[in-house]
Symmetry: C2
């Protein structure tokens, strides 16, 4: 991953207004600052919820001026979108797991990819923070919906090339997302402590069935 989807500047589904700034500082310096702002944003959104988070509060936590946050990202909604895109970075690679290989084994590849992301605390923690914001606020849900729909679900559906491809991709995603909810958020046993390989083995045929079944 040499190019991180962290800055929101090359986010194809974004609102576009933060993209393609001219004359921005050289990558190394600005990337650090942007990362720091986005990490602060994630923490603020997660702790306070979307509504109670302000650009000023994010700036304070990141130790920068509010103007710099606006300069890099724009409005609060755009900061949120960039923070989601960063937190979602690893998960946004899901379509690759679908595209790289035959449709035959797609269920297992997707389930394995999904739990690879969720089993790793470094990728799970930011993901959880964003999911929490999206579940509790309508604006946050809308941003989340747009990113998931355009960057994950639609791409998977495109690979399927079936008239009901999007619905299939969504029902497959529902099985995976629901399992993540019960395992990592609600932590219901025995699912929470079950071996990840056992879960992948059980879900692979279900995901496969949703995507390519009759």
């Amino acid at each position: 991953m040499s190019e991180r989807p962290a800055t929101g500047t090359h986010n194809g589904s974004g609102t576009g207004t933060t993209a393609r700034r001219r004359g921005r500082p050289p990558r190394t310096e600005s990337a650090d600052t942007r990362d720091r702002i986005l990490t602060a944003a994630r923490d603020e959104f997660s702790e306070r919820g979307y509504e109670k988070t302000s650009v000023r509060g994010i700036a304070k936590t990141a130790g920068v001026d509010s103007a710099l946050v606006h300069h890099y990202f724009g409005t609060k909604e755009q900061v949120f979108e960039a923070a989601i895109t960063q937190a979602f970075g690893p998960a946004l690679q899901a379509p690759k797991a679908v595209e790289e290989g035959p449709l035959d084994g797609v269920g297992e590849r997707l389930a394995r990819f999904f739990f690879g992301v969720w089993e790793n605390p470094a990728t799970r923690t930011p993901l959880l923070a964003i999911v929490r914001s999206a579940v509790t606020n309508e604006t946050a849900a809308a941003v989340f919906r747009r990113i998931v729909a355009t960057q994950v679900l639609r791409r998977i559906a495109g690979r399927l090339d079936l008239p009901d491809g999007e619905l299939r991709a969504e029902l497959a995603a529902a099985q995976l997302v629901g399992t993540a909810m019960l395992r990592y958020v609600i932590k219901v046993e025995p699912l929470a402590s079950a071996d990840a390989e056992q879960i992948i083995a059980r879900l692979a045929p279900v995901v496969q069935g949703h995507l390519t079944g009759p």
Copy 2:
């Protein structure tokens, strides 16, 4: 439903400290007050989140004295548990859908029951409020987990009578819960607007497979 699971006084999985109060007021009067407190509690927990909700705030919203809230329900955690049990009342009937009939059609009965509850705004709204609290707070998640595990999942597993019955029930629940998340919370299309019968038709064999498949 002549006996409502709203008061926490006959909740087998509860902490038990609020149960079996002696000398409480006659049913009709007290039931009204208790309902009002629980509805206020649901609104407060949903709007403010678990942490920022206080028994005093709930009492104020319900138009009663804090002491009365403590009298009926006990601690904040116990009020939350009672509110969940009330909001969850309809969903807690899920095991009946499993128990009443042959295992053969259990996938369809359960999927139909589940979407019956979620499609009805009167039962969906309180459910959503509680799910939001449970996703954003660890104490709330623990209460939610205990109720779902003991009153829904374990009973469904009991009917299956298989060594991995609980894991099966949880993976089936994950498919349904994940679909509800994407359809009613994140509202991703085409799933959000799809006909409920179409979704039931697609999920029934998946749920059946989880519960009784090889």
